[in-house]
């Protein structure tokens, strides 16, 4: 894991000091809300429906036990005993007092954490594949590059006042688990025939009110050019991106309005100007950062076959292993998904006690590493298969052993109108009701892989556009109303879901989802043909008919 050097430590503590003074000046009346708001947003502090909200960065979703324990401490001491893990691999606290936030940031700084650039029109937390450095299918660990991007983008003076927020995602595997094609910049790390590292570069993806799949602008960008090329993209965006209308200010609109070829030419021209300058990445610096992410020492004799014997004797463990274990590059190891989607609970929420329990399991069995996935789950990336039964027992004790990774109840949902000032409808209770409807182990396993994603407003924090079944809550005549999209996907074959027809009331939306699921079960060719594959094969007609009758 990356560790702060002296520069990072000074930088973060200087920022805590600065924001502490800004809060003091706000409370003393030297700053009014108009002056203070952009300052608090730069430090991850929002004002939501019931209270302030603090969003803490978890760079590329990687943290250790001490950091998780600190989040638990903050939840217990300054909040209401829980936190909410987000689709951007961060955590949000929903109830902090403004006067306590300087103290919270000071606590976080002691474990090398902060809330810088978790909001505002800047380059946000760089996200990455949650199985980075572990997955069997990975070509290379993308996190060193995510860390290099983090250092480059932190308080970048030129990019602190962009037309709008800017999100970068990286993956190092052919199967994209980081949804890179729906980010402002998506990077897919790979190697050429000679083993050189480079990136396929996508630009202009995004969700929100105008969902777009990113366009490829480079098939193989050499690693030494990573920062110069990203800087070129940002410069072109900063110069030409619209500032007249916040709903048209993201780079996806610029790509759309300018045309990808023209924009690519602009980027390449800018890149030519700067590619041989200070941003060219020296190999020794890449190596220095990469060293921080060196894999833990794997035990070559780890595979003792004991997990197979244990699963044969315990069907619940077998179900957990089938759904929540991911193939690891080291023999005898696996990555464990810790589902934050217990049946009927709010997606992404974890209590302080659960955070402590996960920290303890990571320290004992997982080389002290934890990941946050953009699907709002936690991951222990490196565990010995032989330790999985003990981990499963530990998770059961913490109420986190649901064997539902990737199933219908593994739902992404934004906070929605229960918490968020922007939301137009609730998301969490819709997710909870769907979870309960399909919650029996037999039923969810029969349905198979299915991603349901729910947003409580058009801003699409719940990624509904890329849900196999997407649900968007809106307000219509003072009532909550839910629009359903089908066929979205956020992987290497990304697609934006299509609206299936008129929406449903809060009461009816769960029945509608069940109708869609039952329709799929009725028409799939084999149990192995998952919902998305079946939808792509047959199109929307059978689903439409099931929901609305014959047209």
């Amino acid at each position: 894991m990356y560790r702060y050097d002296e520069f990072d430590t000074d930088f973060v503590s200087a920022r805590v000091e600065q924001f502490t003074d800004q809060v003091r000046r706000r409370l003393a009346g030297d700053l009014d809300e108009e002056q203070f708001k952009p300052l608090r947003l730069m430090n991850g502090v929002y004002l939501q429906l019931h209270a302030y909200m603090l969003r803490v960065a978890i760079p590329y979703g990687t943290l250790n036990g001490a950091q998780m324990r600190k989040l638990a401490y903050v939840a217990r001491t300054y909040d209401r005993g829980y936190g909410h893990f987000t689709t951007r691999q961060n955590i949000q606290f929903n109830w902090p007092r403004l006067k306590d936030i300087p103290a919270i940031l000071e606590e976080l700084a002691t474990v090398e954490m902060h809330a810088i650039q978790t909001s505002g029109n800047c380059i946000r937390n760089v996200t990455a594949d949650h199985f980075s450095g572990a997955a069997a299918d990975e070509i290379l660990d993308p996190r060193p590059y995510a860390e290099i991007l983090r250092q480059w983008s932190s308080l970048h003076p030129e990019f602190s006042f962009l037309p709008r927020k800017f999100k970068i995602a990286v993956t190092g595997a052919p199967h994209d688990r980081a949804a890179v094609q729906v980010h402002d910049i998506g990077l897919q790390a790979k190697r050429d025939a000679d083993g050189n590292v480079g990136f396929t570069v996508f630009v202009g993806g995004g969700l929100g009110r105008t969902p777009m799949i990113a366009r490829k602008v480079r098939d193989f960008l050499p690693e030494e050019d990573l920062l110069a090329y990203c800087e070129a993209i940002l410069r072109v965006y900063n110069r030409y991106g619209r500032r007249d209308n916040k709903y048209k200010a993201r780079i996806k609109i610029l790509v759309h309005e300018t045309g990808v070829d023209t924009l690519k030419a602009d980027i390449e021209r800018e890149f030519e100007e700067i590619r041989h300058g200070v941003l060219r990445l020296p190999q020794d610096e890449i190596d220095r950062i990469t060293d921080y992410f060196a894999p833990p020492p794997f035990d070559a004799g780890a595979d003792d076959g004991s997990l197979d014997r244990a699963t044969a004797a315990d069907p619940a463990l077998a179900a957990f292993v089938e759904r929540n274990l991911h193939a690891h590059k080291a023999p005898g190891y696996a990555s464990v998904t810790i589902s934050l989607k217990p049946i009927g609970k709010a997606p992404g929420d974890a209590t302080a006690d659960q955070m402590d329990a996960v920290a303890a399991l990571a320290e004992r069995f997982g080389h002290d590493e934890i990941r946050v996935s953009h699907e709002q789950n936690l991951v222990l990336p490196h565990v010995r298969k032989a330790d999985v039964p003990a981990i499963f027992e530990g998770l059961k004790a913490a109420g986190l052993a649901e064997a539902n990774a990737g199933l219908v109840t593994d739902i992404i949902a934004c906070p929605g109108m229960d918490f968020c000032a922007l939301a137009t409808a609730r998301s969490i209770p819709v997710a909870q009701r769907i979870s309960e409807r399909f919650g029996t182990p037999e039923r969810q396993r029969d349905i198979g892989d299915l991603k349901i994603k729910i947003s409580g407003c058009i801003n699409a924090c719940g990624h509904h556009h890329v849900g196999h079944i997407g649900i968007l809550g809106v307000e219509k005549k003072g009532e909550e109303y839910y629009q359903i999209t089908l066929g979205g996907s956020g992987d290497e074959n990304s697609s934006i879901g299509e609206i299936i027809g008129r929406g449903f009331s809060y009461d009816d939306v769960v029945d509608a989802v069940e109708t869609l699921v039952d329709t799929y079960i009725g028409l799939r060719e084999t149990p192995q043909e998952d919902f998305l594959a079946a939808y792509r094969r047959v199109g929307d007609a059978p689903f439409k008919e099931a929901l609305y009758g014959t047209a």
Partner: protein, 101 residues
């Protein structure tokens, strides 16, 4: 009927302008504004509270009478007045027992 609502600066707590001009934490104690004059008076008090660093962004909401008293017309404002619908243990709804005791 309307009420004036805002979040308290220091801790973000949802408050309404109460009948005797103080800021109250429960909607039932809010001042129901029946006339344009009352609304204007409330807004002036709100503006002063902003200047005095007590509040952030005060605004008027619509109220209606119910059997138990008053409630906000918009669902969003009813959630603000009570707390998350998914977590009866959080927000103002969780205080009912203590305040009744």
């Amino acid at each position: 009927m309307k009420a004036l609502t805002a979040n308290r600066l220091i801790d973000g707590e949802v408050v309404w302008l109460g009948r005797s001009g103080q800021w109250v934490e429960m909607l039932q104690s809010a001042w129901g504004l029946e006339t344009p004059e009352a609304e204007a008076e409330a807004l002036a008090i709100g503006a002063k509270a902003v200047a005095d660093r007590l509040l952030v962004d005060p605004y008027l909401i619509d109220l209606r009478r119910t059997e138990d008293g008053i409630e906000a017309v918009r669902f969003r404002e009813r959630i603000r007045a009570k707390g998350p619908t998914t977590r009866p243990d959080l927000g103002k709804q969780a205080r009912r027992e203590t305040s009744a005791a």
